[in-house]
C-alpha cells in the first residue's frame, strides 16, 4: 500500500532527526487552541491546521501546538494562547488562518507580540 510506504519514509526521516527534537520540555513554547463546541463552531479547526502547517513549513523546533477545551470567552473564539518560557501568556482572539501566519512569523519566530489580535486590544 502506497500510504504505508509513505509513513515508513516519514518515520525514517524523523528517526534521522532524533536528538534535535525531543518531547515537550519546560523550555518549549506552547501554542494552545481552544477546541470546545464554541471554538470548533467559530473556526478553530482551520486555525489548528494553519498552526501545524506553519510549524512544519518553518521547521520550528521547540514549539508545541496543543488543544484545550473552552478558553472561557466563547464569543471571542477562535482563541489561541501562546506560552513563551519566561514571558507572560499572550491570548489572541478571533484568530483566523491568515492571523496565524502573522502570529507565527512575528511572535513565535521574532518574539514580537501581534497587538492587533491580542485580547485587550479588541
Amino acid at each position: 500500500m502506497k500510504s504505508i510506504e509513505e509513513l515508513k519514509a516519514i518515520k525514517a526521516k524523523m528517526q534521522a532527526e532524533i536528538g534535535t527534537r525531543d518531547s515537550l520540555t519546560d523550555a518549549d513554547t506552547r501554542i494552545v487552541v481552544g477546541m470546545a463546541t464554541c471554538g470548533i463552531a467559530a473556526g478553530a479547526r482551520p486555525v489548528l491546521n494553519a498552526l501545524l502547517e506553519e510549524v512544519q513549513s518553518k521547521r520550528l523546533s521547540g514549539v508545541k501546538v496543543t488543544q484545550a477545551g473552552c478558553l472561557g470567552m466563547c464569543r471571542l473564539e477562535p482563541m489561541v494562547e501562546v506560552y513563551v518560557p519566561g514571558k507572560e501568556k499572550v491570548t489572541y482572539v478571533k484568530v483566523t488562518p491568515e492571523a496565524v501566519k502573522k502570529i507565527v512569523s512575528e511572535h513565535i519566530v521574532n518574539g514580537n507580540v501581534v497587538a492587533e489580535y491580542v485580547i485587550k486590544n479588541i
Binding site: S3, I10, K11, N49, V55, Q56, V65
Partner: protein, 183 residues
Amino acid sequence: MRELSLNILDIAENSIKAGASIIDISLTLRGKLLEISVRDNGCGMDADFLAKVTDPFTTSRTTRKVGLGIPLFKMAAEMTGGKFEISSKKGEGTLTKAVFVIDSVDFMPMGDIGDTMGALIMHAPNVSFFLNVDFDGRVYGFDTMEIKDVLGDDVAIDAVEVIDFIKRTVKENFDNINGGIIL
C-alpha cells in the same frame, strides 16, 4: 457548525473528556441514509444526565462538559428528516448515533474528515481511534494502532509530520469511497 466533520470532532471531543481509551467513529451510507456514530468506552452518564443531555437549556454550567455540542448534532440530523439517539451506561461508555437523509436541502456537507481525525489524534495521542467508512459496501477502515505499529517507539503519532500524513491519507481514502455521493 457548518460541516458534519466538525460535529463529529465535537462529539468525539466529549469522548476524550470522558476518559475513553477507545473511540470508534463510523460513517455508514445505505441508499439515501447516512448514519454517523461515535462509540467510546469513557466514563458514561447516568440515566438522569442522559435524559437531559440533548437539551441545551437544562444543561447548566456545572454540566458544561456537554453543553451545545450534542443539541447541535441532533438538530443537524433532524433537520434533514433523520434521527438522533444517544445511549450510555455509567462506567461503560457512550454511543451517539445520528441518521441523515443525504438528499435533503438541509443536509450539511461532510467537510474534511481527515482534518477531524488529525485534530483528535493530536489532542489524545494515547487513545485508540477507529474510523470505519462503509458506503453501500465500499469500505475503508482507519486504525491508529496500525499507524503506531509502523511508527514503533521512536516516532510519536502526534508528531506534526505524522498528523499531516494521517489527515491526507484519511481524506484521500474517504474521497475514494465517497466518489462525490455526498458533498
